[in-house]
Amino acid sequence: MAAVHDDHAHGHGHEHEHHGPPSGIMRWLTTTNHKDIGTMYLWFSFAMFLSGGVMALTIRAELFQPGLQLVAPEFFNQLTTMHGLVMVFGAIMPAFVGFANWQIPMMIGAPDMAFARMNNWSFWLLPPAAMLLMASFFVPGGAGAGGWTFYPPLSVQMGMGMDMMIFAVHILGASSIMGSINIITTILNMRAPGMSLMKMPMFVWTWLITAYLLVLVMPVLAGTVTMLLTDRHFGTNFFNAAGGGDPIMFQHVFWFFGHPEVYIMILPAFGIISEILPTFSRKPLFGYSSMVYATASIAILSCTVWAHHMFTVGMPVTAQLFFMYATMLIAVPTGVKIFNWTATMWQGSMTFETPMLFAIGFLFLFTIGGFSGVVCAVVPVDIQVQETYYVIAHFHYVLVSGALFALFAGAYYWLPKWTGHMYDESLGKWHFWMSMVFFNVTFFVQHFLGLAGMPRRVPDYALQFADFNMISSIGAFGFGFSQLIFLAVVLKCIRGGKKAEARVWEGGTSLEWTLPSPAPYHTWETPPVIK
């Protein structure tokens, strides 16, 4: 993905002298270039994606048959906890920040991110946080094992692995806040002349809204984990009923962060899909302004629905009803998006390259995840499916076939721009179809398991759940190994391949397609003028 050549001196003919970036490791440690930093974010998140994937496959291997075969129950709980944290904070979120770094300056005609040095720091906070998380497996007591939501009092019982997790969350949060401030400032201040807010590409819009959400909720998470830390070590009783606290308060504060967090992971995905569908339909995005309004409504509503994660804690009836109605309301703007995308494709002139396939896969499966989301919003039904495999199926439909599929779609879409080479189309299609089939084999059956009564976060299960669990495990291994195809495609694309043109895709209309491929190390030193 590295665009190594500093050829803008030829391209632009500025008078002052330019030095190329330092070479070797120092280039990556000291870089303030948004493209380098974007590349590092993407590689980091892919590495975390593979680590989280290994944890997931260990979980599915244990669940292949009833009985305990491979791992002890306490290690199983560590795996489920770390799988969630690594995928959410290590894989999905940094990957979207990687896309933001690469694409936002190129799409709005800015030379770089607003705070270039802070950008470097936001990235370099991630590896120490990841190391803290991974190292916690090897300390006495092992990693945190309270689920990725680490509810007290259970999380107060854990060993020092939990403290390492808390510090890792602090660091990741600081990185996210800095990244968001950077993105907000860049978008609001560094757009090319003539690019009004309502002319920005949808990807930029969704990231602007996401960045505001991050700045709003990340400090809340930091506060929550700090209270947990002082409860653990300094004798406070925020979450301890015996000392006048309330364990349920943790859940309220956690989910005040946690629910916007799921939209933080899906809104930029909406943005990527909104770029890809018009390109391959050769037709403008349908309802651009309603898309912007829908995204903003989703973001605002997402801050008022947190307690739908807590329908079984025993809230007053009015609270249950309020959170049910508010949650159902989110289906309206989300529905608008699905309809707009369908209308974008309608009477287009479609072709089906890999980015388009992943985008259609996204539409199809994300909608299923949306439906199960509505089912989960209805309190009586949610009380039945809460903390079961139904919920596991639901959020993997929105996070894997939602966020992750959108990330793959975006990667295939922009890889030629980043590397200057076309990726291998047939390998890309293999990646898509394998992912599509195995994803559904893994997760569709989990709806049945949950409805029939299998709780989540259990290392062993009753005999009637055996067959579907076996199917699900087979699917998981298929899905996991299919991701290696993606690695192969990316490596192959970096090394060579058909030379990519400036306008890689016939239907691409945003600014990055007017730049040469690969995009030069410095772009838009002279901003383009948008008419």
Binding site: V313, G335, V374
Partner: protein, 379 residues
């Protein structure tokens, strides 16, 4: 894409059709919620079916259009792209219609939520306490008041570790089930001793978190006699997957018999706290208590799990002064450790298990802890 879409549609249709059949609980291919056994569970089941059908209709509508487009509006067929990009009328219509559909979904749900919360006028009130990792049942009000017992999973470790064939109710069987009469309104008060647990009985659509330091209540009225099974559904540590719930619903006459039997047993079990036991009596009893409460963490050989659960064999506490040992068993370990409080065990049980721990494996404290000491310690 198109063939995949068709296949998935077919799959969803099949599921929707099958799910109406309400299969038996232990069907390995059960696709839907378990057959409901209470009014709330029936309403929940019906609402879930309604949601499923509405979602299916929308799915067919939206993806029908998309499928048509995918098949026909292709560049490879020479289709030229149109250039429309918005239509306020259409956009208003598809904002309003989902809104109306949601109201249709929310109306019955609202009624059920209100009914679920009505725990007034119960026939029997039972307090259920979550422990790591077992359930305690205390019958507080109504027929059977005063009955109190602990309910543990009865599946042997050998089945879990695959050295014995697994039984029919593997992981879903307990030593002492909760027993309730059919057709009576049962109010369940929930709390927990250590961490948050959740009490789930799928056939009654009851799932309520058990929160340490707080009491929540839920209710159910069983429609039919039978044995119903559920599990803890809030991650509560190592053996979260191994704390099942069994409710036996019986005829009122049979319930009266059960109550009489329980009362007789507890009368027999009342022991004078001042009775003096021998070391061997306490060790034998203590081994049983240990197997029921301690073995999950500290292990049968007293070695614990290094780094996670402390070893008792050779430990300072088990070989040190009695008072400290009694204290940690009664009141739990320091904040921040997994050692729970076992105040809910009887004086005899605590005395027995402490004596056992001080004289088992390599521990040779040699002293005997009598129930009277525990009784005194509690004060």
């Amino acid at each position: 894409m198109s063939s995949k879409a068709a296949a998935t549609l077919l799959g969803i249709l099949t599921i929707a059709l099958y799910s109406g059949l309400g299969m038996a609980a232990a069907d390995p291919y059960q696709l839907n919620l378990q057959a409901p056994q209470s009014i709330i569970a029936r309403e929940t089941y019906d609402q879930h079916m309604m949601l499923l059908w509405i979602c299916l209709a929308i799915f067919i509508g939206v993806f029908g259009v998309m499928l048509y487009s995918l098949l026909n509006h292709r560049k490879s067929l020479g289709y030229k792209a149109a250039n429309f990009h918005h239509s306020t009328t259409v956009e208003i219509i598809w904002t309003v219609i989902p809104f109306i559909i949601l109201i249709v979904m929310a109306y019955p749900a609202t009624k059920t939520v209100i009914a679920m919360k009505d725990t007034s006028n119960p026939d029997i009130t039972v307090k259920v306490t979550g422990y790591q990792w077992q359930w305690g049942y205390d019958y507080l009000v109504g027929e059977g008041a005063g009955i109190s017992f602990i309910s543990r999973m009865s599946t042997p470790q050998a089945q879990i570790y695959n050295t014995e064939p697994k039984g029919e109710h593997y992981l879903l069987e307990v030593d002492n089930p909760m027993v309730v009469p059919v057709g009576k309104k049962i109010r369940v008060l929930l709390t927990a001793n250590d961490v948050i647990h959740a009490w789930w009985m799928p056939v009654f659509a009851v799932k309520q978190d058990a929160i340490p330091g707080f009491i929540r209540d839920v209710w159910f009225t069983a429609d039919k006699v039978g044995t119903y099974r559920g599990q803890c559904t809030e991650l509560c540590g190592k053996d979260h997957g191994f704390m099942p719930i069994v409710v036996e619903v019986v005829e009122p006459a049979q319930y009266a018999q059960w109550v009489a039997k329980q009362k007789a047993q507890s009368a027999k079990a009342v022991v004078d706290v001042n009775k003096v036991f021998t070391l061997d009596e306490l060790k034998t009893e203590g081994e049983k208590v240990y197997a029921g409460n301690c073995v999950a963490c500290h292990q049968a050989n007293g070695q614990g799990i290094p780094g996670t659960f402390a070893a008792l064999d050779g430990s300072k506490i088990a070989n040190g002064p009695k008072a400290e040992h009694i204290n940690i068993v009664l009141n739990g370990g320091k904040a921040g450790t997994a050692m729970a409080a076992y105040k809910h065990l009887s004086d005899v049980e605590i005395a027995a298990v402490v004596t056992y721990e001080r004289n088992a494996w390599g521990n040779t404290a040699g002293d005997v802890v009598q129930p009277s000491e525990i009784n005194a310690f509690r004060k």
